[in-house]
């Protein structure tokens, strides 16, 4: 057994365990922390596949920025110790059905794609160089320029929306 496989197996266990921990934690802060661990584990998966750029971006963006904001909101609202409200009656069966569909789809895809030529392999070492970064940027800003810009506009709209919703009315402040 080569060392990559061992690392992969251990990491998979960690990833699954942290994902389960996230779902089953009673405390929202613990859930968020499990999610952080999960995201870091995924970043290590990227490293294993020879994509350090994506791994580091994953840690910076998800574990470093987004999850800190999650924690921020949870703590600020004091939501970590909320009593769980009564679940909607149709929620549980629906969740189980959807999860089953997902599992069936995943299994089908894995079985249908599990042929020697189609397996996903790690990209070659050229990913690690600055040239690759340049190639990625070229691809992003040439072939995928429109989706990229649309994404940025989407984020801008969300930001403007948040500001509009939270802006205090200036009426009556003159007193």
């Amino acid at each position: 057994m080569n060392s990559d496989l061992i690392v992969f197996l251990v990491l998979s266990l960690v990833a699954i365990a942290t994902a389960l921990g996230m779902v089953f934690s009673r405390n929202a802060v613990y859930s968020a922390l499990y999610l952080v661990l999960n995201l870091v584990t995924v970043a290590v998966f990227y490293l294993l596949l020879g994509a350090p750029f994506i791994a580091m971006s994953q840690i910076t963006v998800y574990a470093g920025a987004i999850m800190v904001l999650f924690l921020f909101v949870i703590m600020l609202l004091g939501a970590e110790s909320l009593v769980p409200s009564k679940a909607l009656p149709w929620q549980k069966p629906l969740a189980i059905a959807l999860a089953l569909v997902l599992v069936v789809e995943a299994v089908y895809l894995i079985i249908s794609r599990a042929q020697p030529g189609l397996a996903i392999t790690a990209p070659d070492a050229s990913v690690n160089t600055m040239e690759n970064l340049r190639a990625m940027a070229m691809e992003l800003f040439n072939a995928y320029l429109l989706p990229f810009e649309i994404t940025s506009i989407l984020l801008l709209v969300a930001m403007v929306g948040a500001i509009v919703l939270t802006k205090q009315e200036k009426v009556g402040k003159g007193s």
């Binding site: 580091m56 971006s57 840690i59 904001l69 924690l71 600055m130």
Partner: protein, 389 residues
């Protein structure tokens, strides 16, 4: 030979950690002495010659102090938070090159722990997870003051991380690489602080906020929050926060030196002289590459930058919180965005038109834009001197 590589890594990591720990101990002494001098006092000078044994006395005191764990804390996180604060401050130093390389037992030993191709991104990602320790310490203490400190720090660090990232972008553009070794090599001819002085200045300001130092030490503003996020910590657990803060100071100065002040290299005008790290020293029959100059230069530069941090702490009052956020979002972020734009455009124009004049427009334009930003702040402060920023 496999295990030798492992041994080399472990030894290098261990030596780096020990260096940072010693640096932390003596930085506290350095800070206290320098602060005392600025305030016309003497400072600690009783333990050992010039107070040199003071850090040891402090360490012994902290180890024997009583450790209290308040009853209503979230215990696992409460215990984990100091560790989560210290670890990033240690591992972030792994990619910083301390010098060139030397031969030992027939092996070439490079003076860095890891040569990462995405070194700058590594710095960014570790800096971004460093906030967890403080946030979790604040939350798990189950104390309103501590939690306010933690929340402040998370908001502050995320806000200033944007400008920090853009300063990284400036260094990446100038160095044409994300590898810190290559960035240092690219500064052989000219330090990036000369090409992009405003970028270096913004970086220094932002790093002050990132390590929660005065005048941005909001998370522990004592007159508002008692001691902020570490109000409930005592003994060695408190010492870990203390340690993390000072190690972060050292490391962030090392990063600033690496990205903008030539790293372990000499002054750019000394590059082909006796003082260069690439020079070969000959004394009689003994001949060696001057690799040992690298760590010395790095240390000297770090000590100078640390003095600026201490100086700022001694002379500047703490910024009010809303002004701190306004400064980060309304001044530093647009300014650093503009600086990155100026840098990219200057490099591109110089390359395309083959004219070095465009390249030297980078420092000129960036200084002008900084002055404009300062003028805006000045006008804003004059117009409503006691209102919101």
């Amino acid at each position: 030979m496999d295990w030798v590589i492992w041994l080399e890594w472990v030894l290098k990591g261990l030596i780096l950690c020990l260096l940072l720990l010693t640096g932390f101990a003596y930085l506290t002494l350095y800070e206290r002495r320098a602060l005392a001098r600025i305030q016309i006092r003497v400072g600690p000078n009783r333990a050992g010659p010039q107070g040199l044994l003071q850090p040891i006395a402090d360490a012994v005191k902290l180890i024997f102090k009583e450790e209290l764990t308040p009853a209503k804390v979230y215990k696992p996180i409460f215990l984990l938070a100091p560790v989560l604060t210290v670890v990033p401050s240690l591992i972030i130093a792994a990619v910083i090159p301390l010098g060139t390389s030397f031969m030992l037992f027939g092996r070439e030993i490079n003076l860095y722990v890891a040569d990462l191709n995405v070194g700058v991104l590594y710095l960014a990602s570790i800096a971004s997870i460093a906030v967890y320790g403080i946030v979790l310490a604040g939350w798990s203490s189950n104390n309103k003051y501590a939690m306010l400190g933690g929340i402040r720090s998370s908001a502050q660090m995320i806000s200033y991380e944007l400008s920090l990232g853009l300063c990284f972008v400036i260094a990446i553009l100038l160095g044409n690489s994300m590898n810190l070794n290559e960035i240092v090599d690219a500064q052989r001819g000219m330090w990036f602080a000369v090409i992009q002085p405003a970028g270096a200045l913004v970086f220094m300001i932002v790093t002050l906020a990132e390590v929660n130092r005065a005048p941005f030490d909001m998370p522990e503003a004592e007159q508002e929050l008692t001691a902020g996020y570490h109000a409930e910590y005592s003994g060695m657990k408190f010492a870990l926060f203390f340690m993390a803060e000072y190690q972060k100071m050292i490391v962030i100065c090392m990063i600033a030196v690496t990205l903008f002040f030539g790293g372990y290299r000499e002054f750019w005008f000394l590059k082909d002289t006796f003082f260069s790290v690439d020079a070969v020293w000959k004394i009689g029959s003994w001949q060696s590459q001057a690799w040992f100059l690298g760590p010395i230069y790095l240390l000297l530069k770090v000590v100078v930058l640390l003095f600026f941090m201490i100086w700022i702490r001694a002379t500047w009052p703490r910024i009010r919180y809303d002004r701190l956020m306004a400064f980060g979002w309304k001044v530093l972020l647009p300014l650093s965005l503009l600086l990155a734009f100026i840098t990219a455009t200057g490099i591109l124009l110089a390359q395309e038109l083959n004219n070095q004049l465009f390249f030297w427009s980078i420092p000129v334009l960036s200084i002008i834009s900084t002055l404009v930003a300062v003028a805006f702040i000045y006008r804003d402060l004059r117009r409503k001197s006691h209102g919101r920023f």
